[in-house]
Assembly symmetry: C2
Homo-oligomer: 356 residues x 2
């Protein structure tokens, strides 16, 4: 193993980390619901879990009547997973394999790969690579990935916890403290919970979307999003960019969301603090480029580069719902055209009626 | 500085630690209320704050009209304290001194010493030593310590978070995981929040009480409590001993409590996990010896040694409200005697009336 891997896997020998993950109800329940509500997919099937930890997700798979589950875990917590498998009387179904998934062989291809591989801002820990290696080695051509899709989101946000909360705290002015505090985060992301009320663009599409059945490890070396545009939906002060992710289990109703609007998880949200703040109004377009680049020092880490763009000078998507004159004109034009089309539709319906 | 001190003071250069402490409302508000509700004591007086951090408590003292405040801070956060003093327009009152308090000289004796010196289980960090050194060097003979008293408590408790919560978690039996988790805490205390409902003896007296005006640093080398007895006030399973502390500012109404019944602070509670659990019933006596001994490796740490005693074989205090026959008999005897005394009192009152 590389030093990075040794450190990484030994970090998962800390049982308090597993306690935190298991007791993270939105996380554990999302997997439980996704697996048990899809019993029809699991029944009689062979499952591989990548990074099984204590094995709780593998146990859900066995409860969903999988015929065989390979629970692969490269840290010594695999010993505890073995005990839990016994305790739940699934030792005839679940086989705990103490290994990196890259180093194992299996007697057969598998029907489903289950994994909870996500780190902070989804990509941290670089564990998805191992899941994709496992997919390419072991998943049947018509096999299922669980989760099947992942989505990364970004929204401008206010950060009162690093700004206005310190204007007067217990009757003391502490703006200079807040300024020093922000200084800590100019060169590193901050993991913190953001209240939904501080998200300035709630109605957004995913910035990055990966179909885990088809994406390639090369894609994970560097993810670049150019000219990402969000439209502010409440007046506020733009002080940071908030990243979060969702993963989806085959359909949109079956997902685990780490968004500021969802119940808090141990992932919280990831914030890039801006060097300066600016006031924004409902309808304003905010644009930036983002690059997630795997660190050359530690392949399990990424550097996040955020480049602010001047939305007044960049071209916007068509249609764009921001308040710039050009975008308004295009919207009006498209709406008019749509009305004409709608009229045509009515006419043709009328024609049809006439013809009947 | 010793290596221990260098490490200790640099740990307070992490601004997130100060953020945590300042935003700990029960902590900061207790000091604010204690200082501002005692304005009469602070007005026109010279104050020394030991370990001022960002200086917020010194600012409360200045708001309470102290004539001079020496805010002594041995970490570089003193630079931020200077800025905050300026921001609050108290640079004519508050002098930030970047030094260990042991190394400073002051132009005069001080009327009041303020300090928030408490660590986990009160004694951790060993900062009280510095406060007492400052007291002996700088406090006027009739000076005031703020806080003035501190009390350490211990109660038997249940630990569902390490036991029963794992009997069935999300439909999975995880007792063997809980057992491994408890294994982590056989040789070290656990800092965690205990719900009041899991405290098995709520009505207890302090196990240790220090009057900060008079206690001596030698006392802090080793604190031994022999034959400490608590009486269980609810049926439950005795799985650990929960320690917490209160500090008091001159009177009982002005205090900061870190008890399980008070709003949660960053100190939480400190737990010693027992090697085995046992059922206890209301009225049972639970006894133990405790020793807090300063670590020889790191003078800012303590080892806590807990020795369980068999309450059936040890002598109990008189009176004792436990359910042992001997203690019940003594209680009955004392109650009878008291009745006789009460009768005598009435008689003597009657006599007095007669004589008037």
């Amino acid at each position: 193993m590389t030093d990075t891997d040794t450190l990484y896997f030994s970090s998962y020998e800390d049982l308090e980390v597993h306690k935190l993950m298991i007791q993270d109800s939105p996380r554990t329940e999302a997997y439980k619901n996704a697996i048990l509500s899809n019993r029809i997919l699991f029944e009689g099937k062979v499952v591989l879990e990548v990074g099984a930890g204590t094995g709780i997700l593998s146990i859900f798979c066995a409860q969903a009547k999988a015929s065989k589950v390979y629970a692969v875990e490269a840290s010594k917590v695999s010993e505890i997973a073995r005990k839990l498998v016994d305790e739940n009387h699934f030792s005839n179904i679940i086989e705990v394999v103490y290994s990196k998934v890259e180093d194992i062989t299996l007697p057969c291809q598998v029907d489903i790969i289950v994994s909870e591989w996500m780190g902070f801002y989804m990509l941290h820990e670089g564990m998805l690579d191992s899941v994709l290696v496992a997919r390419d080695k072991f998943l049947k051509p018509d096999g299922i990935m669980f989760p099947s899709h992942c989505m990364l989101y970004a929204s401008p946000c206010s950060l009162p916890d690093l700004y206005s909360d310190w204007d007067n705290i217990f009757g003391v002015k502490m703006r200079s403290f807040a300024q020093s505090l922000r200084g800590l985060y100019l060169n590193r992301p901050k993991i913190m919970s953001i209240k939904l009320e501080n998200i300035l663009a709630q109605d957004i599409n995913p910035m990055v979307e990966l179909d885990l059945r088809h994406c390639q490890t090369q894609q994970l070396e560097e993810i670049i999003v150019k000219n990402y545009l969000t439209v502010i939906d409440k007046n506020g002060i733009y002080q940071g960019v908030c990243f979060w992710f969702d993963v989806q289990f085959l359909n949109k109703d079956n997902k685990l969301s780490t968004s500021p609007g969802a119940p808090q998880t141990h992932w919280k949200q990831t914030i890039i603090v801006l060097p300066t703040q600016m006031e924004v109004e409902e309808g304003d377009a905010v644009m930036f480029n983002v690059q997630f680049k795997r660190s050359s020092q530690n392949s399990r880490h990424y550097s996040i580069n955020l480049e602010m763009l001047n939305a007044a000078q960049e071209s916007h998507p068509n249609p764009c719902c921001c308040n710039q004159t050009k975008c308004k004109i295009i919207r009006t034009f498209l709406a008019t055209t749509q009305n004409v089309l709608d009229d045509d539709d009515e006419l043709s319906n009328y024609d049809n009626d006439q013809n009947e």
